[in-house]
Symmetry: C2
Subunit: 413 residues, 2 copies
């Protein structure tokens, strides 16, 4: 039996209301820890209290809204996302997951539906990592997976985490108490815009996320020899840019032609001395591979290194490859994916299974509980932009599936 209908109009009003906080002509500026963020959090906590949640803030600044279940001893089912935005971002990224969760709780309250499990709405601190340069901060704190450097860093203004956390009701000295033990939560469900073009292209209303892609990232430096572009014969050159170009094309080939991993990108290039009439001496560039499967990332790295060694030998240059800290892929369990598909089918909504190319709080939460993610279409795949848009119907469809998913999960142990 499908879940009761959520109120599509109310949900979209909630999104509009939150979208006014931090809105500017250049898009949303509700960057974590900013005055807009503080205002958005207060607004969100009000909404949470109105739907009958008891609201607390953990030492990492995460907002936790909870209501009890009817059966003692069961772990809570959590719904959530984040409300911080990137600078000049959109009003759906993160916000939809939080406002969708609150709409689910409102519908349950309206319909006087109790659940067996306690329910929680989670609003995670600094998902984007643009307010403080350590992303998924709140969800990693809750999962107990913060590293020492997450705590000692300072932001662009030179301000540390202690001050930033105080502004939102957190407490750096007790940060470890934000960690929750496996077993405290029976599941975590996150509704989010896709941020990519797949669902919009195929006209599918619901995306069943198969996993959140991990990322293997590298800094590569090719060192050749800078020389006069007029007087140095081609045969005597060690042009670092030519070698770099070969490796940039290799990154594409690894993902496209060889299909070793899902995507591979060189986004950043720096040429030295970068003068029209000088053969480039060194070229530094970034490489990243993404896939939901760790083995695919390992294979992509191996293929890239094999090609780099070949280029070294053939071009007489040196290629230095430094691995950056990887993001481990977070595959989503097939049974959790099936549950999202079932919830969608209950409302006649077609689904497409797809990985998430972007990172989400769900990938951190996967360390302590089973997670599922629901995607709704992003028009033209645009995100992290003032042009980010998902239709009111798409947002409503997503919240509807979230509610059904919650009730399906509540029926299970």
């Amino acid at each position: 039996m499908p879940s009761p209908k959520i109120n599509a109009l109310r949900l979209n009003h909630s999104l509009e209301d939150l979208g006014r906080i931090g809105h500017t002509d250049q898009g949303m500026q509700r960057v974590a820890f900013s005055a807009f963020d503080v205002e958005g959090r207060a607004h969100t906590m009000d909404l949470m209290r109105r739907v009958g949640l008891e609201v607390t803030i953990d030492p990492a600044g995460n907002i936790i809204g909870r209501r009890d279940g009817s059966e003692p001893g069961l772990a809570a089912i959590a719904l959530g996302s984040h409300i911080d935005t990137v600078p000049s971002g959109g009003k759906y990224d993160g916000a939809l997951g939080v406002m969708g969760a609150i709409e689910c709780l409102q519908t349950l309250q309206d319909q006087r539906i109790t659940t067996r499990h306690p329910l929680e709405v989670l609003v995670f601190t600094n998902e984007e990592g643009t307010g403080f340069p350590h992303w998924l901060f709140g969800s990693r704190a809750m999962a107990g997976s913060l590293a020492a450097e997450d705590l000692t860093a300072v932001d662009q203004e030179g301000i540390g985490l202690e001050t930033r956390l105080q502004a939102i009701g957190g407490d750096l000295s007790r940060i470890h108490e934000a960690a929750r033990s496996p077993g405290e939560l029976s599941a975590y469900f996150e509704l989010h815009i896709e941020q990519g073009p797949a669902l919009d292209r195929s006209g599918t209303p619901i995306g069943v996320v198969t996993g959140i892609t991990g990322r293997a990232a590298f800094e590569v430096e090719v060192a050749g020899a800078a020389n006069h572009a007029g007087t140095t014969p081609m045969g005597l050159r060690h042009d670092a840019l030519l070698s770099a170009s070969r490796l940039i094309l290799t990154v594409e080939r690894i993902a496209s032609e060889l299909e070793i991993c899902r995507v591979g990108t060189v986004g950043r290039v720096s040429v030295s001395p970068n003068a029209t009439n000088v053969v480039p001496g060194t070229v530094a560039f970034s490489v990243e591979f993404r896939d939901v499967d760790s083995n695919a990332l390992t294979a992509a790295e191996a293929e890239f290194r094999r090609n780099a060694a070949e280029v070294e030998a053939s071009d007489g240059v040196s290629v230095d490859i430094q691995a950056l800290p990887p993001t481990i892929p977070a595959p989503i369990k097939p049974e959790m994916q099936d549950l999202v598909a079932e919830a969608s089918a209950n409302h006649g909504l077609a689904t497409e299974r797809l990985p998430s190319g972007a990172g989400h709080d769900a990938q951190a939460m996967a360390a302590i509980t089973g997670v599922a993610m629901i995607f709704v279409p992003s028009i033209d795949g645009i995100s992290h932009s003032p042009l980010e848009f998902s239709t009111p119907q798409a947002c409503a469809d997503g919240a509807q599936v979230l509610l059904d998913l919650l009730l399906l999960a509540d029926q299970r142990e």
Copy 2:
């Protein structure tokens, strides 16, 4: 009969003396129009007077030292080069041609040798174009090929040519009087360091320059679409960097594999937005081709444009190619090359014929008279650097060939 011996020790002392003017820990700073340049010019004019030359300064600031010939009505044979340096340059580039010419005149004076033709030593203003951003300034003024924009430009300090020329005895209001008519000079000979590695590599003391390469230069912009590197599938990307990389490798192929022109270089690249996790949206880069043959440059450009059109079609990007003002190649006449070879053979010096990859005053002078150029080895091909070095023996060999060349030419016509 070979020419009389020049004095190798004296020549190298002259080079050392001039090399002290503008010398710093970061190399030579005798940039055109600077106080060091003014001091170097005064020193050079003194030397010219001591070898019996009548010294004048033309309105372009060119120093002209002249002595009469024995036969009335003959056009002058000119020897010359420049004494301005690039910032942090070396002490041989330009200086060798001027000090070598003065050494030839000194030798003639010592040996009481008169020539049929008048002789001139020419010291050209601002060859490098780093003191004022219009290179080959003096030689182009003498050849009558200055353009309007050469005269109206201002330098980095916002100072115009009128003021700059005053500092060295020139006169902008009479600049057109610096132009000399074809027929006034019977030949122009320039001794110069190679500034490339060919002669040093092959161990050849004298390079017979076959021509001064022209340069076809372009600004290229590839426009694709910037997108999220995690969420945009490979098949939906229009990655400007991949298209640019293909075209960068095409530039190499045109010169190396296809041998359409002598060299092709991409020295400067700018990627936007240049972020690790964003598929590049636009990439701008420089392209230059060099060859002594104009047809080769035309063919190289055509091949590049053909490839760019292919990349546009295959990659779904747009490629904009803007041609910059070209430098026209200046081939050197075979009979002039032969004369350099004969002068070298007269002193048992082996020769190699090679093009000049760098530009020289001789290419401007070619518009009004027959020119020849003599190259001597640059150790490791290094130039425009404090590490620029040519051995005392190499410098002496070059001046010896220059003297012989002058006397061979004097016997003709």
